[in-house]
Symmetry: C2
Subunit: 340 residues, 2 copies
C-alpha cells in the first residue's frame, strides 16, 4: 500500500514545508525522492534520520514514482507534469498552470474531497488566498447559500517565497537606516508600505491574483453564481495571509449560528472575543494548519450579511498542508497504485 | 479681518502639522497661541521666523482667542471646549467627543461645507478613516446614489500619534533582532503583524473605530440609509491610511464614468494604471493633502457596483489639513468675529 513519493520543488519554501509535514504526519511512503531545478541538484536535505540528495528535474526523475507533490512555478509545471503522468505518477500540483482545466480537479480537502474521484493524473491545489476563503465559505454556503462575497486581502511576503521574506527583511533593515533596498520580488518597496497589486494585470482592471479568487472559488464550490469582488494587497508581514470577508447569503444567519457553523467546520478554528482582544493575527496563526476566524459580526443593516476576519498560514494550509492532505486523500482512497 | 488663533494640542503629531499647514497656506492671523498639556508647557516651537512658547491648557488660555484648532484626546476636548466657547472662541475640534452631537456640524471641507452655517461655537472634524471614505463617496453618491459600502481599512501607526510611530519603529528594530518590544500604544505587536482591532469593543462585535465610519459617514452625507459594513485593521505602516472600498449604487456606473467623477471631484487625485504599476500606496501618498484613488474596477457581476483603493495621509487630510480647511471656510465666510 505504501507509495514511492517524489517532492518536486523540494528546496523551495513550500517544498521544505511539504517535507516537514510528511515527517510530522507520518505519511505512508515506501521511498521518497527529492526533485528540484538543476541549480539545486546535489543539495543534501535531512528527512527523519536520513539525508537525501536532491535530483535535477528531468523526465527520468519520475521513473518508479507513484505520487509527486509539486510546488513549482507555472511554466515548470506545464513542462514536467506530462513527464510524470506518462510514467504513471499522480501529481498533486500547487502551481496555477492546470488549475482551471475542466479535466483537473481543484481540491481543498475539507471542501470538495469528493471531486478527487474524477482525476486523470493531476490534482490541483488552489492559490493560497482562495484556499482560506473557500474553507470559510463552504459551511456558510451549505447553511444559508452564499450569494455575494466582498473580500480584501492582506497578503504576506512569503507568498513570493523565501525570496519574498528575505526581501521584506532586508528592505525593512534598510528602511530603518534610511536607505533604499533593491527589491528582488516586489515592484515597489514593501517595508512600511502596502502594494495593492499581486500577480499580473488582467482583464477589467483586476489582477491575476484577484481573478483566481473568483474563478477558483467557483470551481471548488461548484457554483458560478456567487458574486465575488476581491481586492488583493501585499502587506509588510512575513508569513500568514489575512482576509476581511463580507458575505451576503440568501437566508438570514445570526452571529451565533455563524460562530457555531464555523466552529463545527473541518479545518477552522474560531478565536473571537473582541473584549478580551482575542482574534487571529499573522503572528499568532503562523505555523498552524487550520484557518482561524474571528471578528464575526452581522451587518448592521442586513440580517442576511456577515463580516469576519480570517487568517491562515499561507505556506501551510495555503500550500503545503493542503497538498499533503490531498495526498492523504489519495492514499486513503487507494487511488494511487500500490507499490510492490 | 485677521483672527487671534490658538492651536490646542500644539506639540502632538497633528498639532505640529497644523502649525506647518498654517505656515504653508499663509492662514490669515493676527496672533497665534500654542496650547498643550501642562507637561508640554514652556516648550519653544518655531513658527515662520519666530519661536513661540507653549502655554498650559487652562480656561484663561482662551482669553482673546477667536479661533481654536484643537487636536486632543476626547476627554480633554470634553473639558476645554466649553471654556473656549465661553470666552467667545470658535473651536474646530478634531476629537471624537462632540462629533455626533446634533448641534455640532461635522465637516469635511469638500463634502458638506454648507453644514458649517449651523455651528454654535464648535465644528467637528471627522475621524481619519471616515474622512477619506466620504471624500470618495460624495461624488459617487451625487452621481448614482450609494446604497451599500463594504470597506476594509489598512491603518497606519500614526493613527496612534507620534508614540504609535515610535512604537512601530522600535518594535520592528527589536523584531529584526529576534527580541520582544514592550508596546506602549498597541495591544499586540505591530511589527510584521496585523491587528484587526482599533479603538474599543462596542456593540454587536464592532469596534468604536468601525462604528465611527458608519455613523460619521451618515451624518456628513446626510443620509442614514447607506448600508456600511466596515472592518478596521492596524497595519505595520508608519503613516497614511489605506482603504479597500466596495460601493453598490442605485444606478449603474461604468469605470470610465467613475474615473471621471473622481478626477473632477475636489480633494481627489486619481492614480490608476495597473499595467504601469501606478496606484496609491502609503509611501507615495505620504505628505499629500489630497486623497488618492486607484484600482477602480466594476464588479464582475453587478454593473451597479464598483471597487477601488484609496490612500490618504491620515495626519494631513485625515486630521490637520481638514481642520485647517474648516478654519479657512470660517475665515472666508466671516463667521469668526473680526479682531480690531
Amino acid at each position: 500500500m505504501n507509495m514511492h513519493v517524489a517532492v518536486v520543488g523540494a528546496t523551495g519554501a513550500v517544498g521544505q514545508l511539504v517535507l516537514r509535514l510528511l515527517e510530522e504526519r507520518r505519511f505512508p511512503m515506501q521511498s521518497l525522492r527529492l526533485i528540484a531545478s538543476p541549480r539545486s541538484a546535489g543539495q543534501r536535505v535531512p528527512f527523519h534520520d536520513k539525508c537525501l540528495t536532491v535530483e535535477a528535474l528531468s523526465p527520468e526523475a519520475f521513473d518508479g514514482v507513484d505520487l509527486a507533490i509539486a510546488s513549482t512555478p507555472d511554466d515548470v509545471a506545464g513542462e514536467f507534469v506530462p513527464w510524470a503522468i506518462a510514467r504513471g505518477a499522480i501529481v498533486v500540483d500547487e502551481s496555477g498552470f492546470h488549475r482551471m482545466r475542466a479535466d483537473v480537479p481543484l481540491i481543498v480537502s475539507e471542501v470538495n474531497p469528493q471531486a478527487i474521484a474524477h482525476h486523470r493524473g493531476i490534482i490541483a491545489s488552489p492559490n493560497c488566498s482562495t484556499t482560506q476563503l473557500v474553507v470559510c465559505l463552504k459551511p456558510l454556503h451549505d447553511a444559508a447559500r452564499v450569494k455575494r462575497v466582498v473580500v480584501a486581502t492582506y497578503q504576506a511576503a512569503s507568498g513570493a517565497g523565501v525570496a519574498g521574506q528575505r526581501d521584506l527583511r532586508s528592505g525593512t533593515q534598510q528602511a530603518l537606516q534610511g536607505s533604499a533596498h533593491d527589491y528582488e520580488t516586489f515592484a515597489h518597496p514593501l517595508a512600511f508600505n502596502l502594494i495593492p497589486h499581486i500577480g499580473s494585470a488582467k482583464t477589467a482592471g483586476y489582477t491575476s491574483e484577484e481573478l483566481k479568487m473568483v474563478y477558483e472559488t467557483h470551481k471548488i464550490l461548484g457554483d458560478d453564481s456567487i458574486e465575488i469582488c476581491p481586492t488583493c494587497v501585499r502587506v509588510p508581514v512575513s508569513n500568514c495571509h489575512s482576509e476581511s470577508i463580507f458575505v451576503e447569503c440568501e437566508r438570514p444567519l445570526s452571529v451565533e449560528a455563524a460562530r457555531q457553523i464555523f466552529a463545527a467546520a473541518p479545518g477552522i478554528q474560531v478565536w473571537d472575543n473582541l473584549s478580551e482582544k482575542h482574534y487571529p493575527m499573522p503572528l499568532n496563526v503562523d505555523g498552524r494548519d487550520d484557518v482561524v476566524v474571528g471578528r464575526i459580526r452581522q451587518d448592521l443593516f442586513n440580517p442576511r450579511a456577515l463580516s469576519f476576519w480570517c487568517v491562515s498560514d499561507n505556506l501551510r494550509k495555503g500550500a503545503a498542508t493542503n497538498a499533503v492532505q490531498i495526498a492523504e486523500l489519495l492514499a486513503a482512497e487507494r487511488r494511487v497504485p500500490c507499490a510492490s
